[in-house]
């Protein structure tokens, strides 16, 4: 039997040591995911605990069609998304305000300033992290979620669509708009004068 199958059998039989193994083996990874999505240690801890409790309740329904770690990853991502939806946010921009504008013939109204080739790579690492994360936090919640799931957590379009409860085509469109909006928010930091 595969190691996961053995552990799953022990979990379903209620063995305490099996629960301890599952939690110790997976909390680190799940906590890292939750911290990336929620940007708060306290909320990340709560989300990880909620995720494990949901997983324990659903053990009998787990079909074994993925690794336990993958299944737990999906559950903690969903737990974090639920928290994001209920969280009081900083003032958010409307997405339309952050998208490029065009005239009646479809041409750009404002060409914008050029980004030099390696301007991103030349920024000091801690500053880059702060600039990017602050900008991501300013995105409207629906757009922030899809960008986090796709570009930071590395979920596929189909996985992100399922987590968000929207169709894959809608996920792609939302991601593209999120990236455009993020470009606008990052421009003051990277564009040449």
């Amino acid at each position: 039997m595969a190691p996961d199958d053995v552990l799953l059998e022990r979990l379903r039989s209620g063995e305490e040591a099996a629960f301890a193994t599952l939690v110790r083996d997976n909390t680190g990874r799940m906590l890292a995911v939750a911290r990336r999505i929620l940007r708060s240690d306290e909320e990340a801890h709560d989300a990880v605990q909620e995720a494990f409790l949901q997983a324990f309740r659903a053990l009998d329904r787990f079909a074994g069609d993925s690794l336990l770690a993958t299944w737990l990853h999906r559950i903690v991502v969903n737990a974090c998304l639920m928290r994001l939806r209920h969280r009081k946010r900083h003032p958010e921009h409307a997405i339309e305000d952050l998208l490029p504008q065009f005239d009646d013939t479809g041409h750009r109204l404002d060409p914008g300033a050029a980004w030099t080739d390696d301007v991103v790579e030349r920024m000091e690492s801690a500053q880059l992290q702060k600039v990017v994360r602050d900008a991501i936090d300013r995105l409207p919640e629906n757009y922030r979620s899809v960008l986090v799931l796709r570009d930071i957590e590395g979920l596929s379009t189909e996985e992100a669509a399922m987590a968000l409860g929207i169709r894959p085509e809608a996920t792609k469109m939302r991601l593209h708009r999120a990236r455009q909006a993020l470009r606008t928010l990052l421009e003051p930091h990277f564009a040449q004068e």
Binding site: G14, E16, F19, A20, V23, R24, T27, G28, R29, L31, A32, R35, R36, H45, V48, Q49, F52, L53, F56, R57, P100, F102, T105, G106, H107, R108, P111, G112, A113, A114, W115, D117, V119, V120, E121, S125, L128, Q129, V131, V132, R133, I136, L147, D151, I152, K172, L175, H176, R179, Q180, L182, R183, L186, E187, F190, A191
Partner: protein, 88 residues
């Protein structure tokens, strides 16, 4: 012959262009527009820069070396408490 792309049309499908999902003919129309439109060349450079910035900014997020033991114990205690409540 297909009409030339506008800036709006290019930017609408920019994601597909950047991720190399466009059919060859469509990609050729994109390349033609970029050869004539500095504004879109600038926009594309910034769009690619944005993707690199996100990748670099989040590259260092490794799993934490130390998971607080109280978190692990809290999770296991909460599980026992729920299991006990279900059993009653």
């Amino acid at each position: 012959m297909q009409p030339k792309l506008t800036c709006r049309e290019l930017i609408e499908f920019l994601d597909d262009y950047v991720e190399d999902r466009l059919p060859a003919a469509q990609r050729a129309r994109f390349d033609d527009h970029l050869s004539r439109c500095r504004a879109c060349v600038v926009y594309l450079a910034g769009y690619r820069g944005t993707l690199r910035a996100v990748a670099l900014a989040c590259a260092g997020d490794a799993p934490p070396a130390d998971v607080p033991n109280e978190l692990i114990e809290g999770i296991l205690a909460a599980r026992r408490s729920e299991a006990g409540a279900r059993a009653r």
